[in-house]
């Protein structure tokens, strides 16, 4: 997986992708703005959402224990997983214990993060994604590119082709006369998946919220695939990140207002399911929750970075991000793309790999993500905080040239005559490096900057010389 600058460069060359993304993100931005505008107390809801999550995080041990107790009392079983391997092992063992060889899945970021589908595959268990967009991604042997609309990069013609080529290989084939009308495509998915829903004995889900006080889990969705998975099978396994907790049932009144309006731009999503343990005679009679750490406690330990754990995965930040809109989600090399991915992933995975070191730089720091975030995560601040961390961690080899550059810069900026002289040199350099108005490729180490960016060439004339030429005679 290449780091963001290289990956972005490749994705930017895909004009179909840019067209699809521009359409999709602008549509959803407008819908969101409209329904958020309907609530005159949006700022207060946002403040409460942030405060509830911060409070929960700073008392997380208490709430985790309370949640475990409540789930157990309601007839469920709680498992704890330190990392992806442990979580996958728990799920595989639970599925094996049922004797089943397949599971149906509700779209879940946590299970993508731990690559559960691959782990199940290795254990000889088929995992069927049942969310339409996830189905498109899975059948297309592709990876998701958006938190909420994973197939946002695909258009209807591509989806039709995927359905026709792939559905028959794993179940009910697409009808021979399938067109690319969204309604016909959705109908094909309905027929294809219904067979799997009615057959499945085991389902795997995530959860949008987990209520500590009652042990309730909440899944927010639109299509009804979630309801199918959560109610028809005999065994339900929910993989839940430890940051999903909210203290009490009442807290949902805040998040059930913030989430749908921020994510799909609807007043409410079509279906929300809540369940508490098992209900005799209704739904799965065997219920397991896997509480997942997988780096979350690392993020929790960073007092500034911790706020990323408030994220409710609405994806509003993706839809307003000028960088995401042009590169799409694949460029981030992270299950969580866009602005939130750029701050969450390096905290969960650490900043040792090239991909993770690059993520805090995958932003122009314009701040639009902070404005729309329903739980007020200060993403720009976090990006800068993480950039500092990346630099500090790599001081060893970077400090000397960087320190030299910085002290030279401070020497130049410290005196107006020196700055004027430096700017004059820069203007002259335009003839050498910026004939087309932008700077092309510079030699290393400056190529690290120019390879991924079009930087404007220095102006022919500096502002200072322009001022002197035009206004220099002003008496003031």
């Amino acid at each position: 997986m290449p780091a963001f600058p290289q990956a972005a460069k490749q994705e930017l060359a895909n004009s179909q992708l840019r067209h699809n993304l521009a359409n999709a993100t602008s549509t959803i931005r407008h819908k969101r703005a409209e329904v958020v505008g309907e609530l005159d107390d949006w700022a207060q809801l946002r403040e409460a959402g942030a405060a509830i999550k911060s409070h929960t995080l700073s008392n997380l041990d208490t709430y985790l224990e309370r949640f475990e107790e409540a789930v157990t009392a309601a007839g469920g079983t709680v498992h704890w997983a330190r990392d992806a391997a442990e979580a996958n092992r728990i799920v595989v063992d639970l599925v094996r214990a049922t004797g089943e060889r397949e599971v149906v899945k509700v779209k879940s970021m946590a299970t993508q993060e731990i690559e559960l589908n691959e782990a199940l595959q290795d254990a000889g268990i088929d995992a069927w994604e049942t969310d339409l967009a996830e189905l498109i991604v899975q059948l297309g042997h592709d990876t998701p590119s958006h938190i909420l609309v994973p197939a946002i990069h695909r258009n209807r013609a591509e989806i039709r082709e995927i359905f026709q080529q792939e559905m028959g290989k794993v179940g009910t084939p697409a009808p021979a006369d399938l067109t690319d009308e969204p309604a016909r495509l959705a109908e094909a998915a309905r027929r294809h998946l219904r067979e799997k829903f009615l057959r499945a004995k085991v389902a795997v889900s995530g959860a949008n919220f987990a209520v500590a006080e009652t042990g309730s889990l909440v899944v927010v969705e639109s299509e009804g695939n979630g309801r199918m998975c959560l109610t028809l099978p005999e065994t339900l396994i929910s993989v839940v990140g430890i940051e999903k907790l909210v203290p009490r049932w009442q807290d949902l009144e805040v998040f059930l207002q913030l989430l749908p309006r921020s994510s799909t731009g609807e007043r409410m999503n079509p279906y929300t399911s809540t369940w508490t343990g098992v209900t005799p005679g209704d739904g799965p009679q065997s219920f397991h929750v896997v509480l997942l750490d997988n780096g979350r406690t690392n993020a929790l330990a960073d007092e500034i970075g911790r706020q990323a754990l408030r994220c409710i995965r609405c994806s509003a930040c993706l839809n307003v991000c000028p960088v995401y809109e042009r590169t799409g989600g694949h460029a981030y090399g992270s299950v969580y793309p866009g602005p939130i991915g750029a701050v969450l992933t390096p905290q969960l995975r650490g900043t040792t790999s090239e991909v993770d070191k690059a993520l805090p730089y995958a932003s122009s720091l314009c701040g639009a993500c902070y404005d729309v975030c329903p739980v007020a995560i200060n993403i720009p601040d976090l990006l800068v905080h993480l950039r500092t961390r990346v630099v500090e961690e790599h001081r060893g080899w970077q400090s000397k040239p960087m320190d030299a550059l910085m002290s030279m810069a401070s020497w130049v900026l410290g005196d107006s005559r020196r700055l004027a002289a430096a700017q004059k040199v820069a203007s002259l350099s335009r003839r050498v490096i910026g004939r087309k108005g932008t700077i092309g490729r510079l030699p290393p180490p400056l190529s690290r900057w120019t390879d991924a960016r079009d930087a404007p060439a220095p102006a022919e004339e500096t502002f200072r010389t322009w001022w002197e030429r035009n206004r220099g005679s002003d008496s003031r």
Partner: protein, 215 residues
């Protein structure tokens, strides 16, 4: 099992050391300056309008007209087999059995049986006006969760007194120990070029009857 116990201790230990020394506020201190009420002049009217916004069919029923409206709704849906879960008023059964050959009360029905049902008629426990949401807690008259999921048509009767102004009021009326389904319009997807399509896996038709009577 011992591995899982040690994972528990390990995670709780990491959490404790991560939050050690951080300020711990109490739950009661969380500022809740958002609206606890969202008054509307005509709450039931707003509820109907918002449900209709989701491309559901909404009808306000005159006093005494409920059973006629239920039968008419099932006819409109082209239903032959209908299901009215145990716990709905007896008058509904009487009206339905006089019109339809196959009327089931859902007792002991399995998924394959549900696939053969054309329309399901249920009560609800709460309606939320500001969002156009109906909540089922699957108590008497609402059937178990699959009953309102597998058949293609859901006819739902909501009493005016069940309509809450907004999400906070709605949640206060619910018992979290029960399994619940919040329904806002028919099943829908926007996964293909963000074009909304009704009816993916759940019912493609939602028909809401709002009645002044307790159902």
């Amino acid at each position: 099992m011992s591995a899982s116990i040690s994972a528990r201790e390990a995670i709780l230990g990491r959490v404790r050391s991560a939050i050690a020394g951080t300020e711990q506020t109490s739950w009661e201190d969380v500022a809740r300056h958002y609206r606890q009420q969202r008054p509307a002049e005509d709450l039931v009217g707003l509820f109907c309008e918002r449900v209709a916004d989701y491309r559901a069919t909404v009808e306000r029923v005159a006093p005494g007209g409920l059973t006629t409206a239920i039968v008419a709704a099932a006819h409109t849906a082209g239903a032959r087999r209908v299901l009215a879960p145990a716990g709905v008023p007896h008058s509904w059964y009487e009206a339905l059995t006089s019109e339809f050959a196959h009327v089931d009360d859902g007792t002991g029905i399995d998924t394959a049986g549900l696939e053969r049902v054309d329309a399901v008629i249920t009560t609800a426990v709460v309606g939320i006006a500001s969002t156009g949401t109906i909540v089922l807690d699957h108590g008497p008259g609402q059937g178990h969760r699959a009953v309102t999921l597998v058949p293609d048509v859901h006819i739902c009767v909501v009493a005016e007194s069940q309509v809450a102004d907004d999400v906070p009021d709605g949640l206060r009326r619910l018992d979290p120990a029960r399994p619940m389904t919040f329904i806002s319009g028919p099943s829908a997807t926007s996964d293909i070029e963000l074009k909304r399509v009704e009816g993916v896996h759940g019912p493609r038709t939602l028909h809401v009857l709002v009645t002044p009577d307790e159902p």
